[in-house]
Symmetry: C2
DNA sequence: TGTACATCAGTGAACGCGCGTTCACTGATGTAC
DNA sequence: TGTACATCAGTGAACGCGCGTTCACTGATGTAC
């Protein structure tokens, strides 16, 4: 039984993987809107119609890349946080934020694919939502855990406003956490991705010389709005 | 002299304006990467080569649209702030932030053009930088003015870190303002545009029901990090 | 274990369409004398 | 005020290229009996 030819299923899985990695490579050059099935096929030494054995349409390939990107980023953040002590909320937030930024810098075209301008004419199907929430959950959990550990709002401010904010779906996402903190959690999420987008898309050029230091500063600042003061 | 035929120069200016507005309309449908000179010409009832009388290349048209977008947004923010009392720093920040968000929602494709993923293969020329700084300056001035009025850091925190941040070009942008406040100014800028991007690109779907209220909350929160407490 | 049939990967040609850019041209508008 | 010439807007054809998707096909891999 020295049959080392791959089975049909294996070969298929391998081809799908190759199509996706080739697409990622090409996306880095031409961007998501410029991704073309024909070029992918050409790069793989296939005839263009062969791709249709694996992806019935260009949009299906894009969807697969989007789902992969969300999962990839989600996994990166999950792992980064797991390496931290559960008591050290600030450390966990720094780890999560840094892993997001690192992933984005390593995979700029995939970051742009999921957090940049929507690809015109493409509507992401429902099932992309779940992988998309993955990174978000990492951040939400850090805040929720910290709140449960010591339920004191950071620099407590007008907590009354929170009740009127009408955040939705947040009850399950950050259970037991007051609305103000939830809202500040959304701000933390926004600030991190806002930073990464600005850095990647070149808007800090000319105003931030040492982005690493500035990023640390930013994470420190937002941590204080949402986590109990660390005791060091 | 009832010569109401437009002069050549007038006609030229009019055609350029029409090309740009047609492009803006088409960009709303197909996005910036899908903008095509041929389609613009077709929409205007011109032969495709005619466009080249006005824009020597597709990228030049894109550049013109980018410059216009930056200026448009800049003007909107400038006007919004001018309507506020110079003493009311918080009010000015709210006005500026709201005008940015409003402009973005009115001109989503132009917003995506300047703050979304960079158009692949397109490198913006140097002279787009100046109009780009226009909105930024509006925000920077609000903070600088407020600081001069009453030079007290908001909730004063470890001001020492600031010195190591290596922000550049900020000496001219926010003259006389300490580094920590400058850094927080950059965060305010980031938060506003991060919010608008998230809202426009659909990332708040499912977590924010009343975006208007949430936006007000966000601006209130960031105002406190960078402006002296208002005395109302 | 062997044969018959079904499944599937990849081929090659084609359909119908789009694009940016160049070029020689016509005819109208503007300028200099 | 009139004429001669230069400038410029817009035409129409062409170059050379790309795209997504369909379809009938060959030949290899897998399955049922």
């Amino acid at each position: 039984m020295s049959d080392n030819r791959p089975s049909r299923a294996e070969a298929r899985a391998h081809q799908i993987a190759t199509i996706k990695s080739t697409s990622r490579r090409l996306m880095a050059e031409r961007g998501a809107p410029g991704l073309s099935l024909r070029e992918v096929a050409r790069e793989m030494g296939l005839v263009s119609s062969a791709i249709y054995r694996y992806f019935p349409t260009r949009d299906d390939l894009l969807t697969a890349l989007i789902v992969d990107a969300y999962n990839d980023l989600g996994v990166a953040a999950e792992r980064a946080v797991q390496r931290c002590s559960k008591r050290d909320a600030t450390g966990r937030l720094h780890a999560a934020a840094a892993s997001i930024r690192k992933w984005a810098k390593r995979n700029p075209s995939e970051y742009a694919l999921i957090y940049g301008s929507p690809v015109p004419g493409y509507e992401a199907p429902e099932f992309t939502i779940e992988p998309a929430t993955r990174v978000t959950m990492v951040l939400a959990n850090i805040i929720t855990d910290a709140w449960r550990e010591s339920p004191v709002e950071g620099p407590a401010r007008e907590a009354s406003l929170g009740a009127m904010l009408e955040l939705s779906g947040m009850e399950e996402v950050m259970p037991g956490v007051p609305d103000v903190v939830r809202a500040r959690g959304l701000m933390v999420w926004t600030q991190i991705f806002g930073f990464v987008s600005f850095e990647l898309f070149g808007h800090y050029r000319g105003s931030v010389r040492n982005a690493n230091k500035f990023f640390d500063f930013v994470v420190d600042e937002i941590a204080e709005t949402v986590l109990p003061r660390s005791r060091d």
